[in-house]
Amino acid sequence: MSDIRKHKEKKSFLIFKKNSDLQTVSLVTVAFVIAVVIYQLIAGVSKNGVVAFPSLLYPSNILNILIQATPVGILALGMTAVMLAGGIDLSVGMMTSMFSMFVAKVVMHGGMHIGWALLLGIMICITLEIIMGAIISVLNVESFIITLGGQIACRGIGLLITRSQEVAMDKQHLGWLKENLFDLINPEGIKIFSRKLQLPYYVLIFVALTIITWALLKYTRFGRRIYAVGNNPQAAYLSGINVRSTKLLVYIFNGLCVGIGATTLLTRVGTGIITVGQNLEIDVIAAVVIGGVAMSGGKGSVMGAFIGSILMFTISNAMTLMGIQSEWQYVVKGLIIIISVAGGALSHLFSTRKAVRQQKAAL
């Protein structure tokens, strides 16, 4: 018992070490939101002379950000697992495109039932990830380049499926996934600040999947093994961990996430087209790394990746709300990515120094 109490006490001293990355991304997010809110308040007063509630914080807008972040967020869950195990997956964007083209094609031109099509699509994603994962884990080669090959091949497969055409889907096929939860409460829709609140089912999938992944990584044997394999595969092997199958399972899990994420994206977009997932992997990896997952593996958390994806979309959302040109949006987004990573390293440096200084003073 006393051990546990001690454990709780000691934790606070070490918190900067263990959670600094999660802290950094949270801090950057909060700082960014505060800055935007202040700007909106000032701009509102100077324009209309009255204090107006900042539109960034409208409940409807917060829900919007969540909606927009859903596909990237779901993909980020799988990517987190892959990167914790020391790998990376560049193919997820094009695999998403391929998935959307496949599902749209078989449903619209093949007459398949949407449920079967989605299931089959997810299985294809998992299969492709198994192939790549097997090559990576058995031959022990760079995941970067294998999945880069996968990316390019997926683009080709997707284009072949629809013969480079785009295939639009009908509303009824995926409409049920984006029904508004608030409509259940009030079929007229609920409005706050005269903006209708939107909360499609698929956002719930995102939230649920985040919690599941979080628990999986933190509280299960499998999760532990992922961290161990990412940190030191050799030691992991000698500690009785099946490094190959752990890596393989991680890619399978990633394939599942890609399938589900692609489903939500297809639901939003409504069309199977090659551009659906273009450059998506960059957003996903950025979200994961901003969230504190080390590129070298073994370090980071799902919650970081979750906040990371939210941050990415908060940036574009806020910049649009403020009416800032999109050219500047890129500059700001780039700088924020750099700042959150560099800032994390800096704050780590400073907190270490500070701890040393405090200790000296205490002695």
Binding site: K196, N279, S326, Q329
Partner: protein
């Protein structure tokens, strides 16, 4: 005048889209009757970005949303969102006629790409081209496919025997130089970009040799420029081949005049921007306006170039456009019959 905010989204960075925006902004700024702020947001060519932008515009409480779309399915979603929020949705450039709720949009203004390809096909047919390299735009993009379709239709309509009907051929394509006596095509994609088109063309010349083809269709002018360079660097004379393009930029007027290129189709974004300006103005004033229209295409070729030179619509020079507009050299009024109604939307 009352202040209005317009959220303007363009799918990708593209000089065509940018010029459309510039014309819209320039016309609104010099018009004392309107007081607009135009928030321009540019994507990177992905559908989700379009959705997000429209959603953000709604959050920001804009008075109108104007979008150069990624694809029709996504646009259907966007129109629904805008409708739910009570904000008018103006769509440009790429057709979303296939969207079931297309008529809920406040406008569609965009060129007829099939027609554009048709002009090229017609010209090629007239000049006897039978083995044509077709350099498409971005693989899988609707407008690129439409141009190819129009090109084949022109041959079909002139009674040339084809491997299959035009719609099938355009969808199936073929590999290598293949087809019938009347028309063989070599399909490739230059992604709308000069360098890719040049690379493709260089490789194709290697393969086919100087006599393996007698015409090249570059679906926009940057690709056409790459094609010309590839021909020249391979020691071939562009004048020996039928060369056709899309876009009809200023640079290609000169090519046509100099006989380097046989034809092009003048399809300036300025007309779209101008039309959008007129429609927005009418919408805010509560007036009726023609909501679903194609701007007119100017088919220019070596025989008519001198005739129509002055009435060609500038493609990148804003001042020149405004000057020609003020001088009455070009038709810009959306009520002019040169602007045609979109089929099924009159």
């Amino acid at each position: 005048p009352e202040h209005k905010t317009i959220g303007f989204y363009a799918d990708n960075v593209d000089s065509y889209y940018a010029f459309e925006t510039d014309v819209l902004i320039a016309l609104s700024e010099r018009d004392p009757e309107v007081n607009w702020t135009i928030d321009v947001k540019t994507g990177t060519g992905s559908a989700a970005e379009q959705l997000n932008a429209v959603q953000d515009f709604i959050s920001a409480g804009v008075d109108a949303i104007a979008v150069i779309q990624n694809n029709a399915g996504t646009t259907s979603e966007c129109i629904q969102m805008a409708k739910d929020a009570g904000i008018p949705y103006f769509g440009m450039t790429h057709s979303f006629a296939s969207a079931p709720n297309a008529k809920d949009a406040a406008c569609f203004i965009g060129f007829d790409f099939v027609q554009e390809g048709y002009y090229a096909g017609l010209d090629a047919y007239n000049r006897g081209a039978k083995k044509v390299v077709n350099v498409e735009g971005v693989l899988g993009q609707g407008s690129a496919g439409a141009q190819s379709l129009g090109f084949i239709q022109a041959y079909e309509d002139n009674g040339v025997e084809l491997v299959s009907d035009s719609a099938t051929w355009a969808a199936e394509k073929n590999s290598g130089m293949d087809g019938t006596e009347g028309l063989s095509l070599y399909w490739c994609s230059g992604g709308w970009m000069k360098d890719s088109a040049k690379t493709q063309m260089t490789n194709i010349i290697s393969e086919l040799g100087p006599d393996g083809f007698d015409g090249v269709y570059g679906q926009n002018d940057p690709m056409l420029e790459g094609i010309i360079e590839a021909l020249e660097e391979a020691g071939l004379d562009p004048a020996d081949y039928w060369l056709g393009g899309g876009n009809g930029r200023e640079i290609s007027w000169q090519w046509v005049k100099d006989g380097i290129v046989d034809m092009d189709v003048n399809q300036s974004a300025a007309l779209e921007g101008d039309a959008l300006y007129q429609m927005l103005k009418a919408y805010f004033a509560g007036e009726e306006y023609r909501a679903y229209i194609h701007p007119y295409l100017n088919y220019l070729h070596t025989d008519n170039i001198d005739e129509i030179w002055d009435s060609l619509v500038p493609f990148s020079d804003l001042d020149q456009y405004l000057a020609k507009r003020d001088a009455g050299l070009i038709v810009y009024d959306i009520n002019d019959p040169l602007f045609t109604d979109v089929e099924g939307f009159a």
